[in-house]
Symmetry: C2
Subunit: 334 residues, 2 copies
């Protein structure tokens, strides 16, 4: 085991996903030889605890990757674009949690339960898909394998932690301000997010979709290796702290009984079926927070189309949607 131990760097260690990576490396007893915590100048000097050891956060520079085997990047697309090439030149394998390289044909885009075989094609960089994509493809993959996916329509209910710790603080501040009758301030969202639903995540592009919606569309096609999949998305921010929920409608090529579809998903590694309406059991964001699995429920036949099914998919966007998936990729590299 010690022979396989790796020198690991976390880029963006003080962010919401960075901190989650740190705790998941510890939880899963990842074979860490040594750990380097990297962040912007502003965060350098802060300390974080890993396995009872207090580590100081260092400023990210061109010299940061000397001797590092695996670097987990989670500090925004611009940072990845600048520093992944630097790390790769040092022989470091990068697991990038940003959208910077995901659609690059040379870059594997990996969910370990879905397409682990892609990892072997890496050229120094493996991309971690978008949070909203990861939880959906985890459920779509076994359906596609068993039945063939014909069309996917998704509407999301995404938590504020999707923009990081500052999103959580902004929601909490707004709730406080509203309870005291004070005006609210919006910085990370285009409008008040407390007690609201904002149909806008990431920026708009010419076709009227947001980049977040196009990520769900394009990344799903790439991960499922189904470039022509008919798929569309509407992504919405809701005042939830943690865990994204998704209302997913699928059409399949082959038919299946609803009970067999439930069995199929219950048997899928990484997926947990919670589907007992008679006792009010279905996946919920507050229950998924801090958990590893992708939760699915409300499975039922959509009578408005042949071979149509509804799914309600919930997962912790900071864990399976980001940090856990990145660490799982790193585990495949060991």
């Amino acid at each position: 085991m010690m022979a396989q131990s790796k020198s690991v760097a976390i880029v963006g260690a003080t962010g919401a996903v960075g901190k989650e990576i740190l705790s998941i490396l510890e939880e899963r007893d990842f074979p860490v030889k040594n750990l380097r915590l990297l962040a912007s100048e502003r965060s350098a000097g802060k300390t974080l605890v890993f396995k009872d050891e207090t580590l100081e956060v260092e400023e990210l520079t061109d010299e940061s990757f000397a001797g590092i085997d695996i670097a987990l990047f989670s500090a925004g697309g611009a940072v990845s674009q600048e520093f992944c090439p630097v790390a790769i030149a040092e022989g470091t394998i990068c697991v990038d949690n940003t959208s910077a390289f995901r659609m690059d044909k040379e870059v594997p885009l990996v969910v370990p339960e879905v397409n682990p075989e892609e990892i072997k094609n890496h050229k120094g960089l493996i991309a971690n898909p978008n949070c909203s994509t990861i939880q959906m493809v985890g459920v779509l993959k076994p359906i596609h394998d068993a039945l063939g996916l014909k069309r996917v329509i998704v509407s999301t209910y995404q938590s504020v932690s999707g923009v990081g710790t500052q999103g959580i603080l902004e929601l909490e501040d707004q709730v406080k301000d509203i309870s005291k009758g004070r005006p609210v301030t919006s910085k990370n969202f285009t409008s008040q997010i407390a007690f609201n639903a904002i149909p806008h995540i990431d920026s708009f592009i010419e076709n009227g979709f947001t980049k977040e919606e196009m990520k769900m569309i394009n990344e799903t096609r790439k991960i499922l290796n189904h470039p022509d999949l008919a798929i569309t998305a509407t992504t919405v921010r809701v005042p939830v702290i943690r865990a994204h929920s998704e209302s997913v409608n699928v059409e399949t090529e082959k038919d299946i009984d609803v009970s067999d579809l439930k069995d199929l998903l219950a048997d899928t590694p990484g997926v947990s079926l919670i589907d007992d309406p008679s006792s009010n059991k279905y996946p919920l964001a507050v229950n998924a927070s801090g958990k590893d699995d992708i939760f699915v429920g409300r499975i039922r036949r959509d009578e408005s189309v042949e071979r149509g099914f509804h799914l309600w998919i919930v997962s912790d966007n900071l864990r399976k949607g980001a940090a856990l998936n990145a660490v799982q990729i790193a585990e495949l590299l060991v």
Copy 2:
């Protein structure tokens, strides 16, 4: 004008919708000859103000409808089931805001901008559709008339005021409890609604759908007089105080340019187009609260199907979704 003045009763006058009816009757200067406020024994004796006059709430009994021309019911299905027949026997025309009679073939189900002609067929009772249905059909109607609707898939983001004032209080209490680190209590929802999204509104039926979802399906078919319309729904409660949002995907029989579709909806009475992504303009629940219109935006072509379009529809569930629509029906009766 005075010749047309009506004696009006509000059944459930102290509820969230009842209070809204009272203020809308005043705002729109409805020709009220006299007004009777009715509620359960528990609320009898409370007072409410109408046009500077303080009125006492009376207990609803079999004698409540003597001399009443129009009664607006908003006190739950069981109350309507018991007292609408009593009122009708007195010659009172009932406008019922509950689901008790909506799917009755003898009962017109009316959105005044959509199917006002149905009112003439009434036999003493006109049903007000479900809040989530009203705002959707207001937008679907002009699309159906111009292009023919082929399929509709909706996922909702519904506010807590949908269950009345107690829903708002429960959300506010939970937010307070969470901020103080206290455990939350759930009464009106099956789980914590603060910082959560609950895919469950009204009770479940055998096909795995909720009654709320089936209301959207069946009421839309009835109102559009399109009994075979392919339509499906997933209804979700979110921690929003007021106004429901809906992610609606439609397929049409005929094609249309997105810009022409926007023009069509901009020209629809009761519908207001807010659709300028480049300046972050789209309908939002917090902005729709207290407004009369149905707001639509995020209109774009869904490339996953022929002649597919996305719509984001928001409206105040207590106003157009309930009280305003009921008063508009009453106006057609005058």
